[in-house]
Every structure is written in structure tokens, then in C-alpha cells.
Symmetry: C2
């Protein structure tokens, strides 16, 4: 069973600071997890991830199963040595990717059929098979196979979907219990609460799920198109039904604002493509809000991307230079912006943790959000 | 006047080991200079250049003049602080790029007219103007404006071309002497010998050029389509007419083999896009020859790109992983291959220098070339 220590619970909100113990080291929560879908956090080297204090990264079962394939990963002793990453890894099941990326897929009671988006080959993922693949990949934390209902979906669809998802979750848990980790360190299994924006369905999903006593619980199916207030309301509601002693992971979310709101509502773990995807497109997160570094106003600007940041990009390069790199299409531009953005998200969660421990989470959140909205006002 | 010390001359060939003193530090020759055309060595961070022991990099006057523009570079105090590079920089004049990249350009007696390939704007580069721009860019070593005659060109064309090039060289030298460095450290001016594959024209070009006593001499107009033996013959011939006490720079060359042959014929400095361009295309230079790392034979290969290399890529990642990165199109693949290739070229020149100093250049060259051709034989 995954050891999760709660170091401090906030007095006024559901925020908490925790410690998650894995075979590849300890993770301080709340935590932001960079995404390395296909075995690489885009344009970032593992030593840079260590440098910016990333403590866990993500991989994707669906993508890694296709390339490099489990036979390669097994030959190398799992994903950690293959990608040369010494700290924890979490793998998503890939259910979301199968259902969203594939035209040729069919949801069945017993699993999901699909054709590879690479070579058209036929595959069938059952809950059991996904757990087996995740054993072979060797992530420290593995996710059950689930269906993330599209938004908007009507009540009836979502109701059936959570039945399926919970059935799959139980089957995953069974296979997980009946199998062993392959590489000499433990693996942990998280369940995923679904239910769209329907409180009662979320409640059902959570209550059924916790009967299986997973190592942690994810909240899935959010940030798929619903309004921010709907998302916050669901998070706030769902965390009431999740055991306090287990880590909670909000999948695929979100902006710095989203993260702070979710921490307040009791979430511990986050992953999102925003820092790297936006970084590749010259969108830079700063303590004073987001900026488009390609903007001509930065041409002569000698200041760093963010004067509160300690990353390599901010310590060594000016906005003017990084703007130039994007203007002429140099890869170094997106490397530096991605590195900075990741550091910004990781640092935001580290500062949030310190604020929780120091008993000043609410002030910290208010001040941080007020600063984050500054740039938007300035640029109007 | 540029201080160039010759530490050792080879007893059996024209190879020599030297020390070039600049305002940004000392350069050990023979040296390979990574190319950072637009202010960035593609996909490589300055700290990585330091790590692989790059001692000088290139910039391109034509490209930097257009973007970011000299007004930006002047505002930042020159190219070094703009790109955060503490060691020497050499700028090519951009003559080659103007003449090869532009449809809309016109060679005149007094300079070259062109329209920008970016915005179509009209520009006129005279020899004097190029020196002024290079003053503003602030490279340690700057190159005269020249015409690199296309290959093949007939005798008459090349003969007229070297007249023009030498006239421009003298005008560059005059303006250089009449102007000052802008940023508190000295700049040095190199002349460029042209003359195609015509020995007598090369001799004329060299003899005229050295009357102006440049700080160093480049051999231009090679590796433009002529056979390797023609190139080696020209190099061997030209170096006879260049002063021993001045550094010699072979522009735009070449493969590891080319470098060793040119060192033997008395060349000290090299630049080439091969390590980075080929690296971005999965072509990896190794001590046993070049390999295409995308090849399926590397899928399960746990060895490094080159087991004799000490770079970050070779110390931490397998051929199997780097192959995977290229297969799925991850940027990290080209970052690692570029870094390794640059280290390979820099290391090759460092080992060559040591061999010259130890008086075993010929054996070193023979052994190295024999190993370099190994892969080719293996893969047949």
C-alpha cells in the first residue's frame, strides 16, 4: 500500500501538504507532474527536469505500447532506465487517447478495440491487459483503464459510462492484486472518478471506487469543455467522498489559477500539457501572468522572462533574445520557454506547499492570483 | 594584431598546433567552430557548448543584420551578451549567403545589392558597410566581404571574381583600420583566398591578399561541388603562399576525413553545418564512421552512440532510446544527436592537436581514418 503522509492540513480550506513515498523517491505534494507522453518531456533533458526539481513525470500507456513497444521496454528493464530518469513515473492508461485520437475504435463492455494511428494494426485493450502493459512499462504509479465521457454528454450516457468505468476499475484492481511488479520496486494503482458534471453520478462513482481501496484516486473527465466554475464545483464536491488519507490527482488540469483553486478543494497532484505545449508556441507563464514572447514590445527588452524565476532561461537570457529565437524559428527558443514554463508550474506548487505548511495558504493564493492577473490588465 | 603562437609544427607534414589569443579567451588550434548563424547553434544551449569544450562559434553577418538587426545588437552591447556566450565569436560576412540565397541580388563593382528573403526590403552591402556591421555585431574575428564563385565556373569568370574579391578585401581592410571596436575588446580581420580550382588564380589571390597583412587567412570557395582530391590539392597548394605565422581557416569544410586531410595540409580552423544539420536528421558521427540512428537494427541496442565519446548523450542514453526519439519525432532526439556530433568534431580536433604536439600526427591520422571507415565496411 502506497505510503502517503499528510504533513499539514490547512485550517481554513481543504488544502493539504503531503509526502508520497515511492520506490524511486519521495514526492512532496501538492505537485505538478510534467508530461512525457512518449518517453520524453518535449524538448527537455532529464538533467534539466532534475535541475528544475521535477519529482515525478508522466508517460502514456497507449503511446508507449505502440512505440517503442513493451518488448523494447522490457529489454531495457522498464521505462526508467530506457529514458534515463531516476525519479518516479506515473502512467496514464491511455483510455483517453484511444477514445479521443482514434477514428477506428469501438467501446465494448469488456474493453476497447482500436486500430493504431501509426500503422492501422488492430488492438484490443481490456482492463487486465492495460494493467499488464503498465507492469511491463514499470511506472511507479499506474492508472486504471477508464472511459472519459465527452463533454457535453447527457445524464444517461454518463451514467452508463461510470458503470463501465467502475467495472473496469475493479477488474484492473483484481489483475493488479494477482500480478507482481517486474523490476524490483513496488507499483501502485490509482482509480479514476468519472461522472461528468453530475454531482450524484460523481458521488456514485467515488463511493463504488473506494470500496476497492485503491492507492490513490484521480478525478478524470474535467477540463474537457465545461466552465471553470462547474469544474471547481465538481472538484469541491468529489473530494468530500474521497478518503483523506489517500492522494488525489486531478487529471489534465490546468492553468496556474486552476491549480490553486483545486489545491484549495483538496487536490494533491496535477499534470498538464500547458507548460510545454504553450512554451513551444512562445506563450510564457510568469508570476505576473502569461505573455506572448514573440510580441514586438520585447525586441529591446533586456529583462528575464520572469524576474522571480530561478531557471536557466531566466538566469541567462533576455526577453529580447528569446523573442529573437522565436522570430527566426530557432529550436533553442522553445527549449528555453518550455524549461521556464515547467519551472514556473513546479515552483508554484512548491511555494503553495510551503504556504500550506506555514498556515498562510489563503493569503498566498489570493496574492498569487492577484499578481497572475496583472499582465492581463496591463496589456488591455 | 592577432597573436597566434605556434606550439608545435609537425615534422613530416604541414600540420601545426597553435594558440590564438582573443579578447574572449584563447583558442587551441586546430579547432572546429560550431555554427550559430542566427545567434544560436541549432538546438544547443550555450552551457552545453562550454561543456563540450567549444572554444569559438560562428555567427552570420547577413542573417544577424536582418534579424535581430544591428540596432538590437548594439542595445545589448553586441552579440556575446545578447546570446549569453562568453567565448570568442567569428562572423562570416554573409557574402556567400547573399549570393546563394537570394534570387533578387545584383553583383556590382562596388558591392552587392539584394532584397531581403524575409520582407523583400532593398539593401546594398559594400565592403565598408559589412565591416561596419561586423563592428556593431562585435565578433572577435570578422571576415571580409567576398564573392564565392559558383562551381563549376570557367577560368575567365573566376579570374574576374578574384579581382573583385581582392579589391573588396582591400577596401574592408582600409575601413577596418579606420574604425574602432565598439565594445572594449579587440576585433581581428581575416582575408579570404578565392580562385576556384585554378592554382594560378589561387596563387594570385593569396599573394595580393597578404600584401594587406590581414590577421588571418581563410580559404573560401571549396566544398562547393568539386571532387575531394581537387579540394585537397587546392588546399595543399594555397597554404604554400600563406604566411606560416598567421592562422588559416578553411571555410565550410567538412567531414572528419576532410578535416584531417586539411590539417595535414596546414589548416588551423574549420566550420561546418554537418554536425548539427546531420544530427537533426538522425545522422550520427562516431569514431567508427557515420550511422543512421533511425535504423531498425538499433531498436534493442543498449550501447551509446559512440563508446569512445564522453558527451551527455553518450554518458546517459542508449542507441535504442535515441532511435525511439527520432521514430516518434521527439525534439530531444535531435538535441542529443546534435550535441554528440558537435562533441565528436571538437574532440577530433582536440585529439589531432595532442597528436601533433606529441609528434605522432601521421599515425594518428592513419589510425583515425581507418577506424572512421569501419562502419561503412560493416554495413555493406
Amino acid at each position: 500500500m502506497l505510503k502517503f503522509e499528510i504533513a499539514k492540513e490547512d485550517e481554513f480550506t481543504k488544502a493539504r501538504a503531503g509526502l508520497l513515498h515511492t520506490g524511486h523517491g519521495c514526492i512532496q505534494t501538492p505537485v505538478f507532474m510534467p508530461i512525457g507522453t512518449r518517453g520524453s518531456v518535449k524538448a527537455i533533458q532529464p538533467r534539466e527536469l532534475l535541475e528544475i526539481n521535477a519529482s515525478i513525470i508522466l508517460g502514456n500507456t497507449y503511446h508507449l505500447y505502440q512505440r517503442p513497444g513493451v518488448e523494447v521496454l522490457q529489454k531495457f528493464g522498464g521505462l526508467h532506465p530506457f529514458i534515463s530518469w531516476p525519479k518516479p513515473i506515473l502512467t496514464d492508461s491511455g483510455g483517453f487517447q484511444i477514445l479521443s485520437l482514434n477514428e477506428l475504435r469501438k467501446l465494448r463492455r469488456d474493453g476497447v478495440e482500436f486500430r493504431s494511428h501509426i500503422d492501422g494494426s488492430y488492438h484490443f485493450f481490456t482492463p487486465e491487459k492495460v494493467v499488464e502493459i503498465e507492469r511491463q512499462i514499470g511506472a511507479d504509479i499506474i492508472m486504471v483503464l477508464d472511459e472519459c465521457a465527452p463533454y457535453p454528454s447527457d445524464r444517461e450516457y454518463v451514467s452508463k459510462s461510470i458503470e463501465l468505468t467502475n467495472d473496469w476499475a475493479m477488474r484492473c484492481k483484481e489483475r493488479f492484486n494477482a500480478s507482481d511488479a517486474l523490476y524490483g520496486y513496488p507499483q501502485y494503482l490509482f482509480g479514476i472518478v468519472q461522472g461528468g458534471i453530475y454531482d450524484d453520478l460523481r458521488e456514485n462513482s467515488a463511493k463504488q471506487l473506494i470500496t476497492a481501496d485503491f492507492d490513490g484516486y484521480a478525478i478524470g473527465g474535467l477540463a474537457v469543455g465545461e466552465r471553470a466554475d462547474q469544474m471547481y464545483s465538481v472538484i469541491d464536491f468529489v473530494t468530500n467522498f474521497l478518503p483523506t488519507a489517500k492522494p488525489r490527482y486531478l487529471m489534465g488540469v490546468g492553468t496556474p489559477d486552476n491549480l490553486l483553486e483545486a489545491v484549495e478543494r483538496g487536490v494533491d497532484m496535477f499534470d498538464c500539457v500547458l507548460p510545454t505545449r504553450n512554451g513551444r508556441n512562445a506563450q510564457v507563464f510568469t508570476s505576473k501572468g502569461t505573455v506572448n514572447i514573440k510580441n514586438a514590445i520585447y525586441r529591446f527588452d533586456g529583462g528575464p522572462l520572469d524576474d522571480e524565476c530561478d531557471c536557466y532561461a531566466c538566469r541567462n537570457f533576455s526577453r529580447g533574445y528569446i523573442r529573437h529565437l522565436f522570430s527566426v524559428g530557432e529550436i533553442l527558443g522553445l527549449q528555453l520557454a518550455s524549461l521556464h514554463n515547467l519551472r514556473f508550474f513546479i515552483s508554484l506548487m512548491a511555494k503553495t506547499r510551503t504556504a500550506i505548511i506555514d498556515g498562510r495558504f489563503r493569503e498566498f493564493k489570493q496574492q498569487t492570483q492577484s499578481k497572475l492577473s496583472k499582465k492581463k490588465k496591463e496589456e488591455i
